[in-house]
């Protein structure tokens, strides 16, 4: 267990965020001959908004997939809640309290918003298939309490109007919001967002930023997000990790990252294409 786990950390806006809840140590991930992630370590503290940024192909999404348990790194360790995590399946990780959204929306297109968000509650359902089929009794009670939670999320994300709308018919920005809703329905400790604002216009970005901050503030959810829009990242993140070509080239508060010459050269200054 690392010492850092008990320290608190004061952010730029004067908030103190909790001890480390997730730590990745010396992660190396290879696909055949390609090294996607090379020897990366960083931590995520409870209650913070942690951003992972970097140019295209830097290995950000791979990093998220490692945390999420979808990829198993060849080297390195993932510590979650002060325990070394053994290799797991993604659904087991979901049960541990990590939820995510995807870069390319992965909703059930033929189902309504409500049903989609309901699926996010699966980690909170215990009644078996027969109890569900019989429905009366425990399963009914469980569904009511889950529905209540889902309705709170619908209210929170202001998507009452599309409650019963088929998700496939919704515009992109709203689908992203529904996906966030589904992730929130799991009541995660740690919420992973893969480019939550990709392809959005300015207004949709503002809305989404507000929702992310509100989630963080109201539910105390720790958020780790990947994002391209530097303005957004610098505004909402407490701490930022910068990756380039699979390596970590910076880690710190937005202010520190802004001043970091390596970051400026690699990401903000010199173009890769």
């Amino acid at each position: 267990m690392s010492l850092k786990a008990v320290e608190t950390f004061v952010t730029e806006d004067g908030r103190s965020i909790g001890p480390v809840i997730l730590e990745v140590k010396d992660i190396t991930l290879k696909f055949g001959g390609v090294t996607a992630i090379q020897n990366i370590s960083f931590d995520i503290r409870g209650g913070e908004v942690r951003a992972i940024i970097g140019p295209n192909g830097a290995g950000k999404s791979s990093m998220l997939n490692v945390i999420n348990g979808f990829y198993h790194p060849q080297e390195g360790e993932v510590w979650f809640k002060n325990e070394l995590r053994a290799p797991m399946k993604p659904y087991q990780i979901a049960y541990q309290g990590i939820a995510r959204t995807f870069q390319n929306i992965a909703l059930f297109k033929g189902m309504s918003t409500l049903d989609n968000i309901m699926t996010g509650r699966f980690t909170h359902m215990s009644s078996g298939i027969f109890a569900q089929a019989w429905w009366k009794g425990a399963a009914e009670k469980e569904e009511f309490s889950n529905r209540e939670k889902v309705e709170q999320i619908i209210d929170f994300l202001e998507i009452q109007k599309i409650r019963k709308t088929e998700v496939g018919r919704l515009p992109y920005g709203l689908q992203k919001r529904v996906e966030l809703g589904r992730a929130l329905a799991a009541e995660p400790r740690l919420l992973l967002l893969d480019e939550p604002m990709a392809g959005m216009n300015v207004e949709e970005k503002e809305d989404m930023s507000r929702f992310i901050l509100d989630v963080n503030e109201e539910f105390g959810t720790t958020v780790a997000l990947i994002e391209h829009d530097m303005g957004v990242v610098m505004d909402i993140a407490d701490r930022v990790v910068v990756m380039d070509y699979g390596k970590k080239i910076g880690d710190g508060t937005p202010e520190e990252i802004r001043k970091n010459q390596v970051v400026i050269d690699a990401y903000l200054g010199i173009s890769h294409d």
């Binding site: 709170q152 619908i154 209210d155 009452q160 109007k161 409650r163 109201e218």
Partner: protein, 654 residues
């Protein structure tokens, strides 16, 4: 109904009505709201308890008699309760439009010296905080929804629930003061202050007493036989007098239930779920709803479309007769019942209007097509005429006497008078007390005998004895023979045709009326496509012979309908032309809100105006246009001028 209650002889204020309802209708629903996908409801006695707790809480905060309490937010039961709670302890509620920007709000909040504000959510609280340095007397802001405000400085912020629980906790201590305040105020005290939006100058605070509100509520409720099992959906802005009367005045008078939608966007779904029996909406709402029905019918299969068209044609013939209790044949009745079963009733259900027993629209002219559509479905849609100063009701249409072009007869208790300039005056118990801190405007609007000037020109229609409103007084002119010239009245009639986008009628101080017509490119373009008419530009389409023929036909129809009004028959259009360019705000021809700038147009197109009046049959013209990027250019065109068919009024009157 006004019998004694707990020793009070008369029920002459809204809080007293609340007490009456709480004992008379104690278990029937008073408020509903959709939250988290479920309709919650409060009975009258529960509502009374909530309101009492909040008024005690307000006392606890230090609200004085005569203080103004601003209410900012969308329709929530808690905000309605806040208004009545403030009244119970002698304070005056001032609802404010929730979509106003801070700069617009500051005038009202400063003008009424606000000390307490009840705001719905973070959005509204943020505006108040932005203004707080300028609001010297502001003490507390009370909010309903705490979301997003966890980190706010709380010294001047309290939640609604906290105020209520403070009130409940200190009930013993405060109850003597509460009783004193409650008994202290009577019908002459201010019930509510509503700011009129004021198209010119600063908004004015209209002071309405309990007597005003109760008189309006009583008269209008009795006029339409509103019952205590009726229901309404409160979705119109709370700062608008209509919402105050429908959702508080009439609701308290008759004891019906007020339902609040989940959010503004879900209004249509909520309307369908609630199925109100009493409904008000502005004309553009009905217009939008009809358009959406028509668009969806276009996508339906051809058999469905044929059935729909056939049955709607039939409904137009028979539906209004049924509503007006006029005789129809046995066959027609049977067919209507059948059509009702397979089309009208499901359609009304989809629109959320199935249970509507009394429906109203007002505010602007409604197209007869639109009006007839709803009436033929069996929806008792009527028109009323009113304003804030009258606590809404001046005239309304009685059941069975509904027409699309009148606004009805005087509401019981209202006297009407039309002066020689054509301006409509009224006098009633419901007419306002004064404009707050504005004796000058009060004096110019309301005279010593209590007659209030509406600023609208109108006349009593001889065939129906209904009032008809023509236009704002300042826009009504005189023609050279001394008869009325009401351009907007004629223009509105023209604009009911979908192919006519804008019309400018000229004739003030002249001997005949003429018109500029602007075609609607989308509508006429569609028509051209269907009729295989080729065109390459707006200008070419506008000058097309068949377009001219179509417009001439419409003008003929409009002329015929105008000729039936003796007062306005001289407003018939004698000559017209179709403009070669769309009137544009960039060129200054219309305002950003699409109001025609008559004077400017007459000046800019002086050559065209001249041609309209000198009998020419065509005119060459060159017009300056401003492009979107600010560059200027010119277009030249040769415009045809046509004579329109006019009708002799005497022949039609008979």
């Amino acid at each position: 109904m006004n019998s004694s209650f707990r020793g009070q002889l008369v029920v002459d204020t809204l809080p007293k009505l609340l007490n009456r309802n709480a004992s008379q209708f104690s278990n029937s629903p008073a408020y509903r709201v959709k939250e988290f996908g479920i309709w919650r409801s409060w009975s009258w006695s529960q509502a009374r308890d909530e309101i009492n707790a909040f008024s005690l809480g307000l006392l606890d905060c230090g609200v004085d008699q005569g203080d103004h309490v601003a209410i900012i937010g969308s329709n929530r039961p808690e905000l309605y309760w806040s208004m009545v709670a403030a009244q119970s302890i002698g304070a005056i509620p001032v609802p404010v439009y929730q979509d106003a920007v801070p700069e617009e709000m500051i005038y009202i909040l400063e003008h009424c010296n606000v000390r307490f504000i009840v705001a719905e959510d973070q959005e509204q609280v943020d505006k108040v905080i932005e203004l707080s340095t300028r609001l010297k007397r502001l003490e507390q802001t009370i909010f309903l929804d705490p979301r997003g405000m966890r980190k706010y400085e709380k010294s001047k912020l309290t939640s609604f629930a906290d105020v209520q629980s403070a009130g409940r906790k200190n009930e013993k201590k405060l109850s003597i003061l509460y009783k004193k305040r409650f008994q202290n105020h009577s019908s002459v005290d201010t019930c509510v202050m509503l700011y009129t939006s004021g198209t010119t100058g600063k908004p004015k605070g209209v002071v309405l007493s309990h007597k005003n509100i109760l008189a309006a509520s009583k008269a209008s409720s009795e006029f339409d036989n509103l019952r205590h099992d009726d229901s309404v959906l409160a979705y119109l802005p709370m700062a608008w007098v209509g919402d105050f009367i429908f959702s508080i005045g009439q609701a308290y008078w008759t004891g019906f239930c007020v339902a609040c939608p989940e959010s503004a966007e879900t209004m249509q779904t909520d309307l369908r779920e609630i199925g109100p029996s009493y409904f008000f909406a502005p004309p553009r709402y009905f217009e939008g709803l009809l358009t959406s029905v028509m668009i969806r019918m276009e996508d339906a299969s051809s058999i469905k479309r044929k059935v729909f068209n056939h049955m709607m044609e039939f409904a137009k013939k028979v539906g209004p007769k049924i509503l007006d209790n006029k005789p129809i044949s046995f066959y027609e009745r049977g067919k209507y019942i059948f059509a009702n079963f397979i089309l009208y009733s499901p359609l009304k259900d989809t629109l959320g209007l199935r249970n509507v027993r009394v429906g109203y629209t007002a505010g602007e002219a409604i197209g007869p097509e639109i009006f007839d559509f709803y009436r033929s479905l069996g929806i008792n849609l009527k028109q009323l005429y009113g304003q804030t100063e009258a606590a809404v009701f001046i005239t309304q249409q009685p059941d069975g006497e509904v027409r699309s072009d009148t606004v009805g007869v005087a509401t019981p208790g209202v006297e009407l008078k039309i002066d020689e300039s054509g301006e409509v005056f009224y006098r009633s118990d419901s007419s306002f007390v004064e404009y707050y801190k504005n004796p000058k405007s009060t004096k110019s609007t309301k005279n010593k005998e209590g007659w209030v000037a509406t600023g609208d020109a109108g006349f009593i229609d001889t065939s129906s004895n209904h009032l008809r409103i023509i236009d704002r007084v300042k826009d009504v002119g005189k023609m050279s023979d001394g008869s009325f010239f009401a351009p907007k009245y004629v223009e509105n009639k023209l604009k009911f045709y979908p192919t006519i986008l804008e019309a400018v009628v000229l004739g003030d101080k002249r001997d005949i009326c003429t018109a500029f017509i602007n075609i609607d490119l989308t509508a006429v373009g569609n028509w051209a496509e269907r009729n295989n008419i080729a065109y390459s530009s707006y200008q070419e389409l506008a000058a097309h012979d068949q377009v001219y023929d179509m417009i001439a036909r419409y003008i003929k129809e409009v002329n015929l309908s105008i000729s039936k009004d003796k007062m306005l028959s001289s407003c018939q259009i004698r000559r017209f032309l179709v403009l070669h360019k769309e009137l544009d705000a960039d060129d200054g021809e219309i305002t950003r809100t699409r109001k025609v700038r008559r004077g400017f147009i007459e000046e800019k197109y002086a050559d065209l105006v001249k041609a309209l009046y000198n009998g020419a049959s065509q005119i060459e013209t060159k017009t300056e246009v401003t492009y979107e990027d600010g560059r200027k250019g010119h277009i030249s065109a040769t415009l045809e001028i046509r004579d329109a068919e006019v009708f002799n009024p005497e022949l039609e009157v008979a």
